[in-house]
């Protein structure tokens, strides 16, 4: 039986309400996401312009590069910007995103301290344009954004990169949220399968519920050593309303909204994902199924504010994390959120 130790049964997963890949694809993405609307989220430039139209804050756009010829002028474009992010408009899974924290004379310095030359930057942009990072290898556009001045209150919870907050928005209701903290193992990237820490967030308060890295429970950040229990997202309500508003903006019923907290501008929309992953269930220690079922039963036509209030009322959870300052008490069995 030892060989089966790492496995569970479909019955147990169903009890937990875990949504599998097949169900996500057919039941939620296939049913609620109209393929016609995909370009709005698959193209980050379009998302950005649309968000501006709907009054949803996004990081400032420095410029775009659309032709290989334009690559030569990138130096002028970057002039005067200390930190910036270059990303492919149609990239997926965080591929091809280059973060430059600051410039030092002719060198561009990544958050990890690696120094890049202008040629490196140009090659990266050229790769983006030729479609190296885009779905299906189609030619792409490079989008250059201002670096986010992320909220220092969260600095202890992350290593290098900017932590972002993923909120799953179903039919306009924020159903589940997690924060992705980059680590040394994830090379400053906020991708869970690369080793970033996922922290499940309570929908009602924005407080941390549970942390996982490489699918295993964690109570502190592996690099900074800071405990996760005290993590609480400031401006939580604004963030949720912003996320919920993406439903009206795109018309997509099942999306993952990636938000960041800027020191000066508060919550901002970074990008949208029409095929959000399922790791958020691991970070929350709970399946999406019950919450999605509840939302499916709700009438349509509510305002974002009303939807956020509804979600906050029904999806409240208590933290499972140990607080170091409370004498390391073992977490009591947390009652399930009222999702009925």
């Amino acid at each position: 039986m030892k060989a089966l130790a790492g496995w569970t049964s479909p019955g147990k997963l169903r009890i937990k309400g875990i949504v599998g890949m097949n169900r996500r694809n057919i039941r939620y993405i296939g049913r609620y996401n109209n393929r016609r609307l995909y370009p709005l989220v698959d193209d980050k430039l379009k998302t950005k312009l649309l968000a501006q139209e709907y009054g949803i804050t996004t990081p400032a756009l420095i410029g775009t590069v659309t032709t290989q010829f334009g690559v030569k002028h990138i130096r002028d474009m970057l002039e005067g910007h200390a930190g910036f992010v270059i990303k492919p408009a149609k990239g997926s899974g965080g591929k091809g995103i280059l973060v430059i924290e600051h410039t030092d004379q002719d060198a561009y310095i990544k958050p990890s301290g690696v120094r890049l030359t202008l040629e490196d930057i140009e090659r990266h942009v050229s790769n983006i344009l030729s479609g190296l990072y885009s779905l299906g290898g189609t030619p792409d556009v490079a989008v250059i954004e201002a670096l986010i001045n992320f909220d220092e209150r969260l600095a202890e919870y992350t290593y290098e990169g900017v932590p972002d907050i993923r909120v799953i928005v179903f039919k306009g209701y924020p159903v589940m949220a997690m924060m992705r903290l980059s680590t040394a193992a994830s090379d400053g990237k906020a991708n869970l399968h690369q080793g970033a820490v996922g922290v499940g967030l309570d929908i009602s308060s924005g407080a941390a519920i549970r942390g996982v890295q490489f699918d295993r429970t964690r109570h502190d950040h592996p690099d900074t050593g800071h405990e996760l229990a005290s993590l609480r997202i400031p401006d939580w309500h604004t963030l949720l309303v912003l996320a919920a508003g993406c439903f009206e903006m795109t018309g997509l019923g099942y999306i993952g909204t990636d938000m960041v907290l800027d020191r000066d501008h508060g919550p901002m929309l970074l990008e949208l994902n029409a095929r959000p992953g399922l790791a958020i269930q691991m970070a929350n220690g709970e399946g999406l199924r019950r919450r999605l079922d509840l939302i499916e039963a709700q009438p349509e036509g509510q305002t974002p504010e009303a939807r956020v209030d509804f979600a906050k009322r029904h999806f409240a959870r208590r933290s499972e994390l140990e607080r170091s300052d409370e004498g390391r008490q073992t977490p009591t069995n947390v009652p399930q959120a009222d999702t009925r």
């Binding site: 790492g6 147990k12 009890i15 599998g20 097949n22 169900r23 996982v212 691991m282």
Partner: protein, 502 residues
Amino acid sequence: MSRLPFYLIVGLLLVAGVALSVHRHVQFEVPWTPGEQREVWEVESQITFTATGDAPVLVDMALPTNQRGFRLLTENTASPGYGLSFVQENGGRRAQWSIREAVGSQQLYYTAQFLVAPGSRPPEISPPPLREDIVWERPYDTAAVQVIERAWGRSANSFTFARELIRDFGDERQGENARLLLTQYERGPLLVRLLNQAGVPAREVSGLLLEDGRRRQSLMTWVQVFDDDEWTLFDPRSGEQGHPDNLLLWESTGQAVLEVQGGTNSGVTFSMLTHNQPAAAAVRNQLDEDSLLNFSIHSLPLEDQALFQTILLIPIGALVVVLLRVLVGIKTSGTFMPVLIALAFIQTTLVTGLVGFLLVVAVGLVIRNYLSYLNLLLVARVTAVIITVIAIISAFSVLSYRFGLNAGLTITFFPMIILSWTIERMSILWEEEGPKQVLIQGGGSLVTAILAYLAMNNPWIRHITFNFLGVQLILMAMILLLGNYTGYRLLELRRFKPVTED
């Protein structure tokens, strides 16, 4: 949203697929299993000679007929410019080619298809008349008499006599007399002479030992010995009695196999090939009946049939991919790349294919790694990888040939463009996610390819997909149903295990 139309379509496909298959089984007697197939031999004879140019050319060749174990299905000739007629002569069939003027090297072809039919009975063959005019020179006459007496004493009937006689000419028991006779006469005609002298009717016949894929074979001589109405064959070389199952008698009336007038250096060689056909199709071939209703791949020319045999297997490979991705959750690099690799494995065999694939991808990754320093545009870089892959494949082919590994040559069956994209994708994966992901996805692709290969190379599956087009509809229905599966994948049971722990 009602799912009724969906299930209706699936049901319809299933019913149509099953009905079509059953119809083919019942109406055309196509068996369900490949074991019930009938073997068909294709024998091609090539006559070559040099025309002298000063006289008309007449080529006369013996032709095989229905015989024990084989039934003649079809025959064709290729002989541009020659007049051709088939004649019946002394109980044997012969083809006669004729031309007024011909110069230089000439080639004539005769191809025949034989159905292996164990129950097939030959037409009655009457024993040849005994030759009364046998005259031996001295000292061979005494030797002949002694050999005959020796064998006669140890035998009970014509067949045992023939066996003893041939054994006396065998290597171990070759006596003085036998050695003496062999210095003057050839073994075949000598045996017939001796048998005739002893009053046993016998004649020399020419036959072809059928072996799949053999080329440039020539006819072998056998001795046909009669005892009243029965006859049997003896191998003049070993003395073995009996008719080997794979022996096709080409000429059995005791005449020359090939006669050429107006030409020199004449000769005939044979190539042969076997393939299986459903019993019914093989029989239908004989009737040469072609109808529109008989909608099957078998009505296409042979070459195209072979192509379709592969094409019809692709859905099986695709089904394996769907199963592994939807039910198991295996990650592959490129969705259907494993199917193409599996198709290549069919040509190369599994082990050679695996080794070849790993070699090409490994070397390709190393070279691609260098290419990434050159800062090239994507299309140019992939093209460079394609050329690299071709170079690697050529190098391996030449190397393996030099080392005497002919299996290495089959490496050319790999789809090079697909390999190049695989290398490109793996290389990017390596840069972005590290070697672990490359191993996971590369391993997943290989496992999928091996399973697809095993499924596609299964003789029963090959038989079913090739002979029952209705199966394609059933496959379609299965894939539609799989596309509707919302349950967990096998690997998700492991992935989400930590959630269920507390």
